[in-house]
Symmetry: C2
Subunit: 202 residues, 2 copies
DNA sequence: CGTTCTTTTGACCAGTTGGTCAAACCAGAA
DNA sequence: TTCTGGTTTGACCAACTGGTCAAAAGAACG
C-alpha cells in the first residue's frame, strides 16, 4: 500500500522530471549524467536518488509519460469527420506539440536515434497497430475519392517529419531564419501544403 | 611540412572514422566512448590515440567531412533550370542521401539535438547564406508564376524534414511498416507530394 | 515541548572515462 | 643484416560516473 505523496515529494519529483527532460532530451540517455540532472533540479545527487532509485528510473518515467501523450493527437483522428479537416487538424495539433513541448519531441528523437532500445517493442506493437488502423481510415477516404490518392503510411510519416522537424532541428531552423520564430509561418505553410497535398484533382 | 600518409595510416584512419561515425551517430558526442570506437575500429585505445590526438579530434574530422558533402545537393539547385524539375531533383538527391548515408544524417541530427555547439556558427553564416540565396531563386520562380506561391525557406525545411526523417527515424519507420524497406515507396510518395505542392493552380 | 517520520547531506566506493608514456614491436631501405 | 622510423601495446593516472550509507537536519503533529 503506497502512501499519498507529500507536498515536498510532489515538488521534488516534478523538478527532477523536468530537469531530466532537459538533460536527456539534449544528450540522450548515455550522454546525460546524474550530476547534471541533480544540478538542474537544484538537488544534491544523493537527494535525487532518494526520489528515484536510478538513472534508468528517471528516464523510464519520462518515456512512459511521453508515450502516453505522444499518440493522443493521432488517436483523435476521427474516421467519421471531414477527411481534409481531420488530417489538417492532426497536423496542426502535432505542430502545436512541437511548439509547446519541444523537449518531449527531442527526448523521443534521441531515443529513436539510439536505436530505440527501450521502446522498440512498443513501436512494433502499439504504435504499429494504431498507425495501421488510421492508415486504413485514410485509405478508405482516398478510395472514396474524398482526398487525393496517397500512400497512407507515408502521409503519416510526412506529418510526423514536417512537424517534429521544427522541434528537433529548432536551432538550425532559427539559425537559418536569423533568429525569427518559425512557428507562425510554419503553421500557414503546412496549411497550404496539406491543402494542396490532399485536394482531389478536378 | 606534412609527410604523405603510409598505407597503414590510410587504412587505420579510415577505420577509425568509420567506427567513430557508427558510434557518434548513435550516441552523440557525450554518449560515445573511446573504448567503443577503438573496439569497433579493431584497435587498442592507445593505438587509436596515436592516429587522432583526442575524442574531439575524431568528432571534428567527421563533422568537417560531413558539412563538406552535406550541402552539395542544395548547392546544385540551379536557378536556370526548370523550376519543378530542379526542386524535385533536389528532394530526390536528399532522399538518396538518407538511404545511402544514414549514419551521416544521424550524426548531423545528433549534433543539432545537442544544440549544435560545434557548428552553430557555420549554420548562422555559411548555411544561412546558402539557404537565403537559394530561397531567393525559389521566390523568383514563385513570383514569375512558374511554381505555386510558397514560402521558400519553409519549402526548404520541408524538403529536409521529409527526406532526413527516413534516415533519422529509420527504426520507427521500419517498425511501423513491419520491417519493409521504406525507400522505394518513399521516393514515389515524395514525387507525388512535391508535384502537387509546386504545380501552379490552373 | 518531544517524538516520529521524512528529507538532506558528506563521505565514500568501485567501475569507467579520456588520455599519457616508455618500452616493445615491426616494416622496409641501405 | 642492421638501422631507422613508423606502429602497437601494457601499465598507469586523475577525473568522473552511478550508486550507497549512516548520520544529521527538518517537518508534522500531539
Amino acid at each position: 500500500m503506497t502512501k499519498a505523496p507529500t507536498r515536498i515529494q510532489k515538488r521534488n519529483r516534478a523538478a527532477i522530471l523536468s530537469a531530466g527532460l532537459d538533460i536527456f532530451s539534449q544528450y540522450g540517455f548515455r550522454g546525460a549524467t546524474l550530476d547534471q540532472i541533480a544540478d538542474a533540479a537544484g538537488l544534491s545527487k544523493p537527494n535525487l536518488l532518494y526520489y528515484f532509485p536510478s538513472k534508468e528510473a528517471i528516464h523510464s518515467a519520462l518515456l512512459e509519460r511521453l508515450l502516453e501523450t505522444w499518440l493522443d493527437p493521432l488517436k483523435a483522428l476521427d474516421g467519421s469527420g471531414d477527411p481534409i479537416t481531420e488530417i489538417m487538424a492532426y497536423a496542426q495539433r502535432k505542430l502545436a506539440m512541437s511548439r509547446d513541448f519541444p523537449r518531449e519531441s527531442r527526448l523521443f528523437a534521441n531515443e529513436i536515434l539510439q536505436g530505440a532500445p527501450r521502446i522498440e517493442e512498443i513501436l512494433k506493437s502499439d504504435l504499429k497497430r494504431l498507425v495501421d488502423q488510421k492508415a486504413e481510415i485514410i485509405k478508405a477516404w482516398a478510395d472514396d475519392g474524398k482526398i487525393a490518392a496517397i500512400d497512407p503510411h507515408h502521409l503519416i510519416f510526412s506529418i510526423w517529419a514536417l512537424t517534429q522537424h521544427y522541434a528537433d532541428f529548432d536551432v538550425q531552423v532559427r539559425a537559418v531564419l536569423g533568429g525569427r520564430d518559425p512557428f507562425p509561418d510554419a503553421a500557414t505553410h503546412l496549411d497550404h501544403l496539406f491543402q494542396r497535398m490532399l485536394k482531389v484533382e478536378p
